[in-house]
Symmetry: C2
Subunit: 307 residues, 2 copies
Protein backbone atom coordinates (compact mmCIF):
# COMPACT_ATOMS: atom_id res chain seq x y z
CA UNK A 1 0.00 0.00 0.00
CA UNK A 2 1.16 3.53 -0.87
CA UNK A 3 0.28 6.29 1.60
CA UNK A 4 0.27 9.88 0.32
CA UNK A 5 0.54 12.33 3.20
CA UNK A 6 0.21 16.12 2.89
CA UNK A 7 -1.65 18.48 5.22
CA UNK A 8 -3.34 20.31 2.35
CA UNK A 9 -2.87 18.60 -0.99
CA UNK A 10 -2.87 14.88 -0.19
CA UNK A 11 -5.74 14.17 -2.56
CA UNK A 12 -4.13 16.08 -5.44
CA UNK A 13 -0.87 14.17 -5.09
CA UNK A 14 -2.71 10.86 -4.84
CA UNK A 15 -4.59 11.69 -8.06
CA UNK A 16 -1.32 12.23 -9.90
CA UNK A 17 -0.29 8.68 -8.93
CA UNK A 18 -3.59 6.97 -9.75
CA UNK A 19 -3.61 8.87 -13.07
CA UNK A 20 -0.36 7.06 -13.81
CA UNK A 21 -2.03 3.73 -13.20
CA UNK A 22 -1.00 3.04 -9.60
CA UNK A 23 -3.48 1.19 -7.44
CA UNK A 24 -3.59 0.67 -3.66
CA UNK A 25 -2.98 4.39 -3.15
CA UNK A 26 -4.48 5.97 -0.03
CA UNK A 27 -4.13 9.53 1.18
CA UNK A 28 -4.27 11.36 4.49
CA UNK A 29 -4.06 14.97 5.63
CA UNK A 30 -3.54 14.29 9.33
CA UNK A 31 -2.33 11.75 11.85
CA UNK A 32 -5.93 10.72 12.46
CA UNK A 33 -6.66 10.09 8.81
CA UNK A 34 -3.41 8.16 8.41
CA UNK A 35 -3.81 5.98 11.50
CA UNK A 36 -6.02 3.25 10.02
CA UNK A 37 -3.47 2.37 7.29
CA UNK A 38 -0.16 2.63 9.12
CA UNK A 39 0.40 -1.09 9.67
CA UNK A 40 -0.10 -1.85 5.95
CA UNK A 41 1.91 0.97 4.37
CA UNK A 42 4.96 -0.13 2.39
CA UNK A 43 5.63 3.12 0.59
CA UNK A 44 5.22 6.63 1.98
CA UNK A 45 5.08 9.72 -0.27
CA UNK A 46 4.94 12.59 2.18
CA UNK A 47 5.51 16.12 3.38
CA UNK A 48 5.62 17.07 7.11
CA UNK A 49 4.81 13.52 8.18
CA UNK A 50 4.82 13.13 12.00
CA UNK A 51 8.08 11.30 12.75
CA UNK A 52 6.77 9.37 15.77
CA UNK A 53 4.48 7.37 13.45
CA UNK A 54 7.35 5.51 11.79
CA UNK A 55 7.47 3.04 14.70
CA UNK A 56 3.89 2.00 13.89
CA UNK A 57 4.78 1.11 10.30
CA UNK A 58 6.43 -2.34 10.30
CA UNK A 59 6.03 -2.89 6.55
CA UNK A 60 7.51 0.48 5.50
CA UNK A 61 10.41 0.04 3.08
CA UNK A 62 10.67 3.35 1.18
CA UNK A 63 9.93 7.01 1.96
CA UNK A 64 9.89 9.52 -0.89
CA UNK A 65 9.95 12.95 0.73
CA UNK A 66 8.22 15.76 -1.23
CA UNK A 67 11.06 18.22 -0.67
CA UNK A 68 14.83 18.55 -0.78
CA UNK A 69 15.55 19.00 2.94
CA UNK A 70 15.13 15.85 5.02
CA UNK A 71 16.60 16.76 8.41
CA UNK A 72 13.25 16.15 10.14
CA UNK A 73 12.83 12.71 8.53
CA UNK A 74 16.33 11.46 9.17
CA UNK A 75 15.83 11.57 12.92
CA UNK A 76 12.86 9.22 13.38
CA UNK A 77 13.15 6.84 10.45
CA UNK A 78 14.69 3.36 10.96
CA UNK A 79 17.91 3.03 8.99
CA UNK A 80 16.62 -0.02 7.15
CA UNK A 81 14.02 2.10 5.33
CA UNK A 82 15.11 3.71 2.06
CA UNK A 83 14.77 7.49 2.10
CA UNK A 84 14.81 9.63 -1.04
CA UNK A 85 14.48 13.36 -1.38
CA UNK A 86 13.64 15.47 -4.43
CA UNK A 87 16.77 16.53 -6.30
CA UNK A 88 17.35 18.28 -9.60
CA UNK A 89 13.97 19.98 -9.66
CA UNK A 90 14.68 23.01 -7.55
CA UNK A 91 17.80 24.34 -9.14
CA UNK A 92 16.45 26.56 -11.89
CA UNK A 93 13.67 28.21 -9.90
CA UNK A 94 15.85 28.78 -6.86
CA UNK A 95 18.57 30.34 -8.98
CA UNK A 96 15.87 32.54 -10.54
CA UNK A 97 14.84 33.65 -7.05
CA UNK A 98 18.40 34.52 -6.08
CA UNK A 99 19.01 36.62 -9.19
CA UNK A 100 15.65 38.39 -8.92
CA UNK A 101 16.71 39.91 -5.63
CA UNK A 102 20.37 40.44 -6.49
CA UNK A 103 19.31 42.38 -9.57
CA UNK A 104 16.77 44.27 -7.47
CA UNK A 105 19.55 45.44 -5.19
CA UNK A 106 22.30 46.13 -7.72
CA UNK A 107 20.09 47.68 -10.39
CA UNK A 108 18.52 50.03 -7.86
CA UNK A 109 14.96 48.99 -8.66
CA UNK A 110 13.53 50.81 -5.64
CA UNK A 111 15.16 54.05 -6.73
CA UNK A 112 13.56 53.81 -10.17
CA UNK A 113 10.16 52.85 -8.72
CA UNK A 114 10.28 55.91 -6.47
CA UNK A 115 11.38 58.14 -9.35
CA UNK A 116 8.45 56.89 -11.38
CA UNK A 117 6.02 57.59 -8.54
CA UNK A 118 7.18 61.21 -8.53
CA UNK A 119 7.40 61.45 -12.35
CA UNK A 120 11.09 62.18 -12.08
CA UNK A 121 13.53 61.65 -14.97
CA UNK A 122 16.92 61.11 -13.36
CA UNK A 123 19.20 59.09 -15.62
CA UNK A 124 21.64 57.88 -13.00
CA UNK A 125 22.93 54.54 -14.20
CA UNK A 126 22.56 51.36 -12.14
CA UNK A 127 25.28 48.96 -11.06
CA UNK A 128 25.88 45.70 -12.86
CA UNK A 129 26.37 42.10 -11.78
CA UNK A 130 28.98 41.66 -14.50
CA UNK A 131 32.49 41.37 -13.11
CA UNK A 132 31.39 40.81 -9.51
CA UNK A 133 32.44 37.66 -7.66
CA UNK A 134 29.75 35.11 -6.88
CA UNK A 135 30.54 32.58 -4.17
CA UNK A 136 28.22 29.61 -3.81
CA UNK A 137 28.35 27.42 -0.69
CA UNK A 138 26.97 24.03 -1.64
CA UNK A 139 27.50 22.76 -5.18
CA UNK A 140 24.64 20.28 -5.49
CA UNK A 141 21.95 20.55 -8.15
CA UNK A 142 20.75 23.93 -6.84
CA UNK A 143 24.19 25.47 -6.39
CA UNK A 144 25.15 24.38 -9.88
CA UNK A 145 22.22 26.28 -11.38
CA UNK A 146 23.15 29.38 -9.39
CA UNK A 147 26.68 29.15 -10.78
CA UNK A 148 25.33 28.72 -14.32
CA UNK A 149 23.24 31.89 -14.10
CA UNK A 150 26.11 33.78 -12.49
CA UNK A 151 28.28 32.92 -15.48
CA UNK A 152 25.53 33.99 -17.88
CA UNK A 153 25.57 37.39 -16.14
CA UNK A 154 29.34 37.65 -16.56
CA UNK A 155 30.20 37.11 -12.89
CA UNK A 156 33.36 35.47 -11.57
CA UNK A 157 32.40 32.26 -9.78
CA UNK A 158 33.91 30.52 -6.79
CA UNK A 159 32.49 27.70 -4.71
CA UNK A 160 32.71 25.82 -1.44
CA UNK A 161 31.65 22.22 -0.99
CA UNK A 162 32.34 19.23 1.22
CA UNK A 163 33.23 16.74 -1.50
CA UNK A 164 34.67 18.99 -4.20
CA UNK A 165 33.05 16.71 -6.76
CA UNK A 166 31.87 19.67 -8.83
CA UNK A 167 34.92 21.86 -8.32
CA UNK A 168 35.42 22.20 -12.06
CA UNK A 169 32.33 24.36 -12.56
CA UNK A 170 33.90 27.23 -10.57
CA UNK A 171 37.06 29.26 -11.09
CA UNK A 172 38.23 28.51 -7.56
CA UNK A 173 37.07 25.83 -5.12
CA UNK A 174 37.31 25.70 -1.31
CA UNK A 175 36.69 22.93 1.18
CA UNK A 176 34.86 23.67 4.47
CA UNK A 177 38.14 24.17 6.35
CA UNK A 178 38.68 27.34 4.27
CA UNK A 179 35.40 29.15 4.92
CA UNK A 180 37.13 32.40 5.91
CA UNK A 181 39.34 32.52 2.81
CA UNK A 182 36.32 31.78 0.65
CA UNK A 183 34.15 34.45 2.29
CA UNK A 184 36.83 37.12 2.00
CA UNK A 185 36.70 36.91 -1.81
CA UNK A 186 32.99 37.22 -2.53
CA UNK A 187 30.79 40.14 -3.52
CA UNK A 188 27.79 37.83 -3.26
CA UNK A 189 27.57 34.75 -1.02
CA UNK A 190 24.76 32.37 -1.93
CA UNK A 191 24.17 29.66 0.68
CA UNK A 192 22.54 26.47 -0.57
CA UNK A 193 23.62 24.09 2.18
CA UNK A 194 21.63 21.28 3.78
CA UNK A 195 21.27 21.49 7.55
CA UNK A 196 23.49 18.87 9.20
CA UNK A 197 25.67 18.71 12.30
CA UNK A 198 28.58 20.05 10.21
CA UNK A 199 26.69 22.99 8.68
CA UNK A 200 24.88 24.15 11.83
CA UNK A 201 25.63 27.90 12.08
CA UNK A 202 28.61 27.37 9.81
CA UNK A 203 28.20 30.94 8.52
CA UNK A 204 29.27 32.38 11.86
CA UNK A 205 30.68 35.64 13.13
CA UNK A 206 34.18 34.85 11.88
CA UNK A 207 32.99 34.04 8.37
CA UNK A 208 30.76 37.12 8.22
CA UNK A 209 33.58 39.33 9.50
CA UNK A 210 35.76 38.15 6.61
CA UNK A 211 33.26 39.47 4.08
CA UNK A 212 33.56 42.91 2.53
CA UNK A 213 31.12 45.59 3.80
CA UNK A 214 29.92 45.93 0.21
CA UNK A 215 28.97 42.27 -0.04
CA UNK A 216 25.60 40.55 0.04
CA UNK A 217 24.46 37.35 1.78
CA UNK A 218 21.75 35.23 0.14
CA UNK A 219 20.35 32.23 2.02
CA UNK A 220 18.07 29.88 0.08
CA UNK A 221 19.12 26.67 1.81
CA UNK A 222 18.31 26.27 5.49
CA UNK A 223 18.05 29.07 8.07
CA UNK A 224 20.01 27.14 10.68
CA UNK A 225 23.20 27.13 8.58
CA UNK A 226 23.64 30.83 9.44
CA UNK A 227 24.27 32.34 12.87
CA UNK A 228 21.34 34.76 12.68
CA UNK A 229 22.47 36.81 15.67
CA UNK A 230 25.86 37.38 14.09
CA UNK A 231 24.27 38.24 10.75
CA UNK A 232 21.95 40.72 12.42
CA UNK A 233 24.86 42.40 14.19
CA UNK A 234 26.84 42.76 10.94
CA UNK A 235 23.88 44.33 9.18
CA UNK A 236 22.99 46.65 12.05
CA UNK A 237 26.56 47.93 12.13
CA UNK A 238 26.52 48.36 8.33
CA UNK A 239 29.28 45.83 7.80
CA UNK A 240 27.25 44.12 5.08
CA UNK A 241 25.46 45.74 2.18
CA UNK A 242 22.37 43.53 2.26
CA UNK A 243 20.92 40.14 3.16
CA UNK A 244 18.44 38.30 0.98
CA UNK A 245 16.78 35.70 3.17
CA UNK A 246 14.22 33.11 2.20
CA UNK A 247 14.93 30.84 5.17
CA UNK A 248 15.30 31.48 8.90
CA UNK A 249 16.22 29.73 12.13
CA UNK A 250 12.56 29.89 13.08
CA UNK A 251 9.80 29.93 10.46
CA UNK A 252 7.61 31.87 10.14
CA UNK A 253 10.06 34.58 11.19
CA UNK A 254 8.66 35.93 14.48
CA UNK A 255 6.82 39.24 14.00
CA UNK A 256 9.03 40.98 16.54
CA UNK A 257 12.31 39.94 14.88
CA UNK A 258 14.59 42.94 14.15
CA UNK A 259 15.10 41.74 10.52
CA UNK A 260 11.64 43.02 9.59
CA UNK A 261 12.51 46.66 10.04
CA UNK A 262 15.95 46.69 8.45
CA UNK A 263 15.81 48.10 4.92
CA UNK A 264 18.95 46.13 3.96
CA UNK A 265 17.22 42.83 4.71
CA UNK A 266 14.99 41.31 2.06
CA UNK A 267 12.58 38.77 3.53
CA UNK A 268 10.56 36.16 1.68
CA UNK A 269 8.54 33.36 3.31
CA UNK A 270 10.51 30.25 2.27
CA UNK A 271 9.19 30.30 -1.29
CA UNK A 272 12.37 30.08 -3.36
CA UNK A 273 12.03 26.34 -3.92
CA UNK A 274 8.61 25.58 -5.34
CA UNK A 275 7.24 22.08 -5.10
CA UNK A 276 4.76 21.86 -7.90
CA UNK A 277 2.71 18.79 -7.16
CA UNK A 278 2.85 17.46 -10.70
CA UNK A 279 6.65 17.66 -10.96
CA UNK A 280 7.12 16.13 -7.54
CA UNK A 281 4.70 13.32 -8.41
CA UNK A 282 6.60 12.67 -11.63
CA UNK A 283 9.75 12.31 -9.55
CA UNK A 284 7.94 9.79 -7.35
CA UNK A 285 6.80 7.78 -10.38
CA UNK A 286 10.33 7.65 -11.77
CA UNK A 287 11.64 6.33 -8.45
CA UNK A 288 8.71 3.92 -8.09
CA UNK A 289 9.58 2.34 -11.42
CA UNK A 290 13.23 2.18 -10.41
CA UNK A 291 12.30 0.46 -7.14
CA UNK A 292 10.12 -2.08 -8.96
CA UNK A 293 12.83 -2.88 -11.49
CA UNK A 294 15.68 -2.92 -8.97
CA UNK A 295 17.52 0.09 -10.37
CA UNK A 296 19.18 2.72 -8.12
CA UNK A 297 16.83 5.40 -6.75
CA UNK A 298 17.27 9.12 -7.46
CA UNK A 299 17.95 11.42 -4.52
CA UNK A 300 18.82 8.55 -2.16
CA UNK A 301 19.79 10.05 1.21
CA UNK A 302 23.07 9.00 2.80
CA UNK A 303 21.78 8.49 6.35
CA UNK A 304 25.14 9.35 7.89
CA UNK A 305 25.73 12.53 5.91
CA UNK A 306 22.09 13.47 6.43
CA UNK A 307 21.35 14.48 2.82
CA UNK B 1 43.09 67.33 -35.14
CA UNK B 2 40.76 65.25 -32.99
CA UNK B 3 37.76 67.01 -31.47
CA UNK B 4 36.11 65.39 -28.44
CA UNK B 5 32.59 66.72 -27.96
CA UNK B 6 30.34 65.98 -24.97
CA UNK B 7 28.10 68.40 -23.10
CA UNK B 8 29.30 67.21 -19.70
CA UNK B 9 32.28 64.89 -19.91
CA UNK B 10 34.33 66.20 -22.84
CA UNK B 11 37.43 66.67 -20.73
CA UNK B 12 37.21 63.19 -19.21
CA UNK B 13 36.94 61.55 -22.64
CA UNK B 14 39.79 63.67 -23.98
CA UNK B 15 41.96 62.56 -21.06
CA UNK B 16 41.35 58.92 -21.89
CA UNK B 17 42.75 59.59 -25.38
CA UNK B 18 45.76 61.63 -24.32
CA UNK B 19 46.49 58.96 -21.68
CA UNK B 20 46.83 56.56 -24.61
CA UNK B 21 49.39 58.82 -26.22
CA UNK B 22 47.26 60.76 -28.70
CA UNK B 23 48.23 64.36 -29.37
CA UNK B 24 46.34 67.15 -31.13
CA UNK B 25 43.27 66.34 -29.05
CA UNK B 26 40.93 69.24 -28.25
CA UNK B 27 37.65 69.11 -26.39
CA UNK B 28 34.46 71.14 -26.30
CA UNK B 29 31.22 71.07 -24.32
CA UNK B 30 29.24 73.43 -26.53
CA UNK B 31 28.94 74.85 -30.01
CA UNK B 32 30.76 77.98 -28.83
CA UNK B 33 33.70 76.04 -27.44
CA UNK B 34 33.90 73.93 -30.59
CA UNK B 35 33.68 76.77 -33.07
CA UNK B 36 37.35 77.82 -33.13
CA UNK B 37 38.53 74.35 -34.22
CA UNK B 38 35.88 73.27 -36.69
CA UNK B 39 37.83 74.04 -39.87
CA UNK B 40 40.80 71.94 -38.69
CA UNK B 41 39.01 68.87 -37.28
CA UNK B 42 39.70 65.62 -39.09
CA UNK B 43 38.30 63.24 -36.49
CA UNK B 44 35.25 63.80 -34.30
CA UNK B 45 34.58 61.71 -31.16
CA UNK B 46 31.20 62.93 -29.99
CA UNK B 47 27.83 62.66 -28.31
CA UNK B 48 24.90 65.00 -29.14
CA UNK B 49 27.00 67.01 -31.57
CA UNK B 50 24.94 69.74 -33.34
CA UNK B 51 24.36 68.38 -36.85
CA UNK B 52 24.39 71.77 -38.59
CA UNK B 53 28.09 72.15 -37.77
CA UNK B 54 29.18 69.39 -40.15
CA UNK B 55 29.03 71.83 -43.08
CA UNK B 56 31.71 73.93 -41.38
CA UNK B 57 34.12 71.00 -41.16
CA UNK B 58 35.79 70.57 -44.57
CA UNK B 59 38.60 68.32 -43.29
CA UNK B 60 36.33 65.90 -41.37
CA UNK B 61 36.90 62.30 -42.47
CA UNK B 62 35.70 60.15 -39.54
CA UNK B 63 33.06 60.45 -36.83
CA UNK B 64 33.10 58.00 -33.91
CA UNK B 65 29.78 58.39 -32.15
CA UNK B 66 29.78 57.66 -28.39
CA UNK B 67 26.58 55.59 -28.56
CA UNK B 68 24.85 52.84 -30.50
CA UNK B 69 22.00 54.85 -32.05
CA UNK B 70 23.07 57.22 -34.84
CA UNK B 71 19.78 58.39 -36.37
CA UNK B 72 20.54 62.03 -35.50
CA UNK B 73 24.01 61.90 -37.04
CA UNK B 74 23.02 60.17 -40.25
CA UNK B 75 20.87 63.10 -41.32
CA UNK B 76 23.41 65.94 -41.42
CA UNK B 77 26.69 64.19 -42.13
CA UNK B 78 28.10 64.17 -45.70
CA UNK B 79 28.20 60.64 -47.09
CA UNK B 80 31.91 60.86 -47.77
CA UNK B 81 32.65 60.97 -44.03
CA UNK B 82 33.08 57.61 -42.27
CA UNK B 83 30.64 57.11 -39.41
CA UNK B 84 31.08 54.48 -36.71
CA UNK B 85 28.88 53.70 -33.73
CA UNK B 86 29.64 51.74 -30.57
CA UNK B 87 28.76 48.07 -30.94
CA UNK B 88 29.31 45.03 -28.78
CA UNK B 89 29.59 46.95 -25.52
CA UNK B 90 25.96 47.32 -24.61
CA UNK B 91 24.74 43.78 -24.88
CA UNK B 92 25.40 42.36 -21.43
CA UNK B 93 24.27 45.37 -19.41
CA UNK B 94 21.14 45.89 -21.49
CA UNK B 95 20.20 42.24 -21.16
CA UNK B 96 20.75 42.59 -17.42
CA UNK B 97 18.35 45.54 -17.38
CA UNK B 98 15.66 43.60 -19.26
CA UNK B 99 15.83 40.61 -16.92
CA UNK B 100 15.86 42.77 -13.79
CA UNK B 101 12.40 44.07 -14.64
CA UNK B 102 11.04 40.85 -16.11
CA UNK B 103 11.97 39.05 -12.90
CA UNK B 104 10.50 41.92 -10.89
CA UNK B 105 7.17 41.39 -12.62
CA UNK B 106 7.05 37.59 -12.77
CA UNK B 107 8.49 36.97 -9.32
CA UNK B 108 6.03 39.38 -7.74
CA UNK B 109 8.73 41.46 -6.04
CA UNK B 110 6.29 44.22 -5.10
CA UNK B 111 4.01 41.74 -3.36
CA UNK B 112 6.89 40.47 -1.23
CA UNK B 113 8.12 43.99 -0.46
CA UNK B 114 4.63 44.91 0.73
CA UNK B 115 4.33 41.73 2.78
CA UNK B 116 7.63 42.55 4.44
CA UNK B 117 6.48 46.08 5.26
CA UNK B 118 3.50 44.61 7.11
CA UNK B 119 5.50 41.72 8.64
CA UNK B 120 3.29 39.25 6.86
CA UNK B 121 4.35 35.64 6.17
CA UNK B 122 2.35 34.55 3.13
CA UNK B 123 4.12 31.77 1.25
CA UNK B 124 2.35 32.16 -2.07
CA UNK B 125 4.83 31.07 -4.72
CA UNK B 126 5.96 33.35 -7.52
CA UNK B 127 5.83 32.69 -11.25
CA UNK B 128 8.88 31.61 -13.18
CA UNK B 129 10.51 32.70 -16.42
CA UNK B 130 11.32 29.07 -17.22
CA UNK B 131 9.22 27.69 -20.04
CA UNK B 132 7.92 31.08 -21.19
CA UNK B 133 8.55 32.24 -24.76
CA UNK B 134 10.96 35.12 -25.25
CA UNK B 135 10.75 36.96 -28.57
CA UNK B 136 13.54 39.36 -29.42
CA UNK B 137 13.13 41.86 -32.28
CA UNK B 138 16.61 42.79 -33.46
CA UNK B 139 19.36 40.17 -33.27
CA UNK B 140 22.44 42.40 -33.21
CA UNK B 141 24.96 42.34 -30.38
CA UNK B 142 22.38 43.45 -27.81
CA UNK B 143 19.61 41.10 -28.95
CA UNK B 144 22.05 38.20 -28.90
CA UNK B 145 22.86 38.80 -25.24
CA UNK B 146 19.15 38.98 -24.39
CA UNK B 147 18.66 35.61 -26.11
CA UNK B 148 21.62 34.14 -24.22
CA UNK B 149 20.20 35.14 -20.84
CA UNK B 150 16.74 33.93 -21.85
CA UNK B 151 18.18 30.50 -22.57
CA UNK B 152 20.03 30.51 -19.24
CA UNK B 153 16.65 31.06 -17.54
CA UNK B 154 15.14 28.13 -19.44
CA UNK B 155 12.97 30.21 -21.77
CA UNK B 156 11.99 29.27 -25.30
CA UNK B 157 13.52 31.79 -27.68
CA UNK B 158 12.30 33.18 -30.99
CA UNK B 159 13.61 36.15 -32.95
CA UNK B 160 12.85 38.64 -35.68
CA UNK B 161 15.49 40.38 -37.77
CA UNK B 162 15.93 42.00 -41.16
CA UNK B 163 18.88 39.96 -42.36
CA UNK B 164 18.35 36.65 -40.58
CA UNK B 165 22.11 36.41 -40.21
CA UNK B 166 21.80 35.21 -36.60
CA UNK B 167 18.71 33.06 -37.07
CA UNK B 168 20.50 30.01 -35.67
CA UNK B 169 20.62 31.38 -32.14
CA UNK B 170 16.81 31.17 -31.82
CA UNK B 171 14.42 28.23 -32.05
CA UNK B 172 12.33 30.04 -34.66
CA UNK B 173 13.19 33.06 -36.80
CA UNK B 174 10.92 35.59 -38.52
CA UNK B 175 11.60 38.30 -41.09
CA UNK B 176 9.91 41.71 -40.77
CA UNK B 177 7.06 40.68 -43.11
CA UNK B 178 5.90 38.26 -40.40
CA UNK B 179 5.65 40.62 -37.43
CA UNK B 180 2.11 39.52 -36.55
CA UNK B 181 2.94 35.80 -36.58
CA UNK B 182 6.01 36.51 -34.45
CA UNK B 183 4.11 38.66 -31.93
CA UNK B 184 1.33 36.10 -31.53
CA UNK B 185 3.80 33.55 -30.10
CA UNK B 186 5.57 35.55 -27.40
CA UNK B 187 5.08 35.82 -23.65
CA UNK B 188 7.77 38.49 -23.60
CA UNK B 189 8.63 40.79 -26.52
CA UNK B 190 12.00 42.53 -26.17
CA UNK B 191 12.53 45.28 -28.75
CA UNK B 192 16.16 46.13 -29.54
CA UNK B 193 15.69 47.77 -32.93
CA UNK B 194 17.48 50.79 -34.36
CA UNK B 195 15.24 53.64 -35.49
CA UNK B 196 15.10 53.75 -39.28
CA UNK B 197 12.45 54.45 -41.90
CA UNK B 198 11.58 50.74 -41.87
CA UNK B 199 11.29 50.41 -38.08
CA UNK B 200 9.38 53.65 -37.43
CA UNK B 201 6.34 52.60 -35.33
CA UNK B 202 6.81 49.06 -36.56
CA UNK B 203 5.31 47.77 -33.31
CA UNK B 204 1.89 49.10 -34.24
CA UNK B 205 -1.70 48.40 -33.28
CA UNK B 206 -1.88 45.28 -35.43
CA UNK B 207 1.26 43.78 -33.91
CA UNK B 208 0.18 44.64 -30.37
CA UNK B 209 -3.28 43.18 -31.01
CA UNK B 210 -1.66 39.89 -31.98
CA UNK B 211 -0.01 39.58 -28.57
CA UNK B 212 -1.57 37.62 -25.72
CA UNK B 213 -3.14 39.70 -22.90
CA UNK B 214 -0.74 37.94 -20.52
CA UNK B 215 2.32 39.11 -22.44
CA UNK B 216 4.86 41.82 -21.68
CA UNK B 217 6.51 44.40 -23.95
CA UNK B 218 10.07 45.51 -23.18
CA UNK B 219 11.61 48.36 -25.20
CA UNK B 220 15.32 49.00 -24.75
CA UNK B 221 16.04 50.12 -28.32
CA UNK B 222 14.45 53.31 -29.55
CA UNK B 223 11.11 54.79 -28.45
CA UNK B 224 10.05 55.62 -31.98
CA UNK B 225 9.97 51.96 -33.07
CA UNK B 226 6.75 51.56 -31.04
CA UNK B 227 3.42 53.27 -31.71
CA UNK B 228 3.10 54.68 -28.20
CA UNK B 229 -0.56 55.63 -28.60
CA UNK B 230 -1.43 52.09 -29.59
CA UNK B 231 0.63 50.67 -26.73
CA UNK B 232 -1.07 52.99 -24.25
CA UNK B 233 -4.51 51.90 -25.51
CA UNK B 234 -3.66 48.19 -25.15
CA UNK B 235 -2.44 48.70 -21.60
CA UNK B 236 -5.36 50.89 -20.57
CA UNK B 237 -7.79 48.25 -21.82
CA UNK B 238 -5.80 45.52 -20.01
CA UNK B 239 -4.93 43.72 -23.22
CA UNK B 240 -1.28 43.54 -22.15
CA UNK B 241 0.11 42.44 -18.80
CA UNK B 242 2.86 45.04 -18.55
CA UNK B 243 5.25 47.30 -20.43
CA UNK B 244 8.86 47.81 -19.40
CA UNK B 245 10.04 50.98 -21.11
CA UNK B 246 13.47 52.55 -21.03
CA UNK B 247 12.95 54.57 -24.21
CA UNK B 248 10.14 56.80 -25.44
CA UNK B 249 9.02 58.77 -28.49
CA UNK B 250 9.90 61.92 -26.58
CA UNK B 251 12.58 61.98 -23.89
CA UNK B 252 12.36 62.90 -21.11
CA UNK B 253 8.87 61.43 -21.07
CA UNK B 254 6.56 64.47 -20.59
CA UNK B 255 5.35 64.77 -16.97
CA UNK B 256 1.72 64.69 -18.08
CA UNK B 257 2.05 61.48 -20.08
CA UNK B 258 -0.52 58.84 -19.03
CA UNK B 259 2.23 56.17 -18.74
CA UNK B 260 3.37 57.67 -15.43
CA UNK B 261 0.23 56.69 -13.57
CA UNK B 262 -0.29 53.21 -14.95
CA UNK B 263 0.90 50.54 -12.48
CA UNK B 264 1.50 48.10 -15.36
CA UNK B 265 4.05 50.43 -16.96
CA UNK B 266 7.61 50.39 -15.66
CA UNK B 267 9.49 53.56 -16.59
CA UNK B 268 13.23 54.13 -16.50
CA UNK B 269 15.02 57.18 -17.93
CA UNK B 270 16.94 55.69 -20.89
CA UNK B 271 19.57 54.08 -18.66
CA UNK B 272 19.62 50.50 -19.88
CA UNK B 273 22.66 51.03 -22.09
CA UNK B 274 25.45 52.54 -20.04
CA UNK B 275 28.20 54.40 -21.82
CA UNK B 276 31.10 54.18 -19.46
CA UNK B 277 33.58 56.72 -20.68
CA UNK B 278 36.57 54.42 -20.35
CA UNK B 279 35.01 51.59 -22.37
CA UNK B 280 33.79 53.95 -25.05
CA UNK B 281 37.22 55.57 -25.26
CA UNK B 282 38.82 52.16 -25.61
CA UNK B 283 36.50 51.49 -28.51
CA UNK B 284 37.62 54.78 -30.09
CA UNK B 285 41.30 53.86 -29.67
CA UNK B 286 40.76 50.50 -31.32
CA UNK B 287 39.11 52.17 -34.30
CA UNK B 288 41.74 54.93 -34.42
CA UNK B 289 44.47 52.31 -34.77
CA UNK B 290 42.46 50.54 -37.44
CA UNK B 291 42.03 53.79 -39.36
CA UNK B 292 45.76 54.54 -39.16
CA UNK B 293 46.71 51.08 -40.37
CA UNK B 294 44.02 50.88 -43.06
CA UNK B 295 42.07 48.01 -41.48
CA UNK B 296 38.23 47.93 -41.47
CA UNK B 297 36.56 49.96 -38.71
CA UNK B 298 34.29 48.39 -36.06
CA UNK B 299 30.65 49.53 -35.97
CA UNK B 300 30.82 51.15 -39.42
CA UNK B 301 27.37 52.52 -40.24
CA UNK B 302 25.76 51.58 -43.54
CA UNK B 303 24.49 55.03 -44.49
CA UNK B 304 21.60 53.60 -46.49
CA UNK B 305 20.38 51.19 -43.80
CA UNK B 306 20.94 53.88 -41.19
CA UNK B 307 22.74 51.68 -38.65
Amino acid sequence: MILVYHEKQAEKYAHHLTDQGLTKVVHARSEEEASEWLDQVEILFAWKFPAHLYQKMPKLRWVQWMGAGVEDVVRGLPESVLLTRIVGQFGKVMAEYAFTWLLHEYQGVNRFLEAKASREWNPKRPESLAGKTLGVAGLGSIGQEVIKLGKAFGMKTIGLSRTGSHEKIVEQHFFPDKWVDFASLVDVLVIVLPHTKETDKVVNQEVLAAMSPSSIVVNIGRGKTVDQEALLARIQSQKLRAAILDVFEEEPLPVDHPFWELPQVYITPHISGPSLSRDVSRFFMENYERLESGRPLLGLVDRHQGY
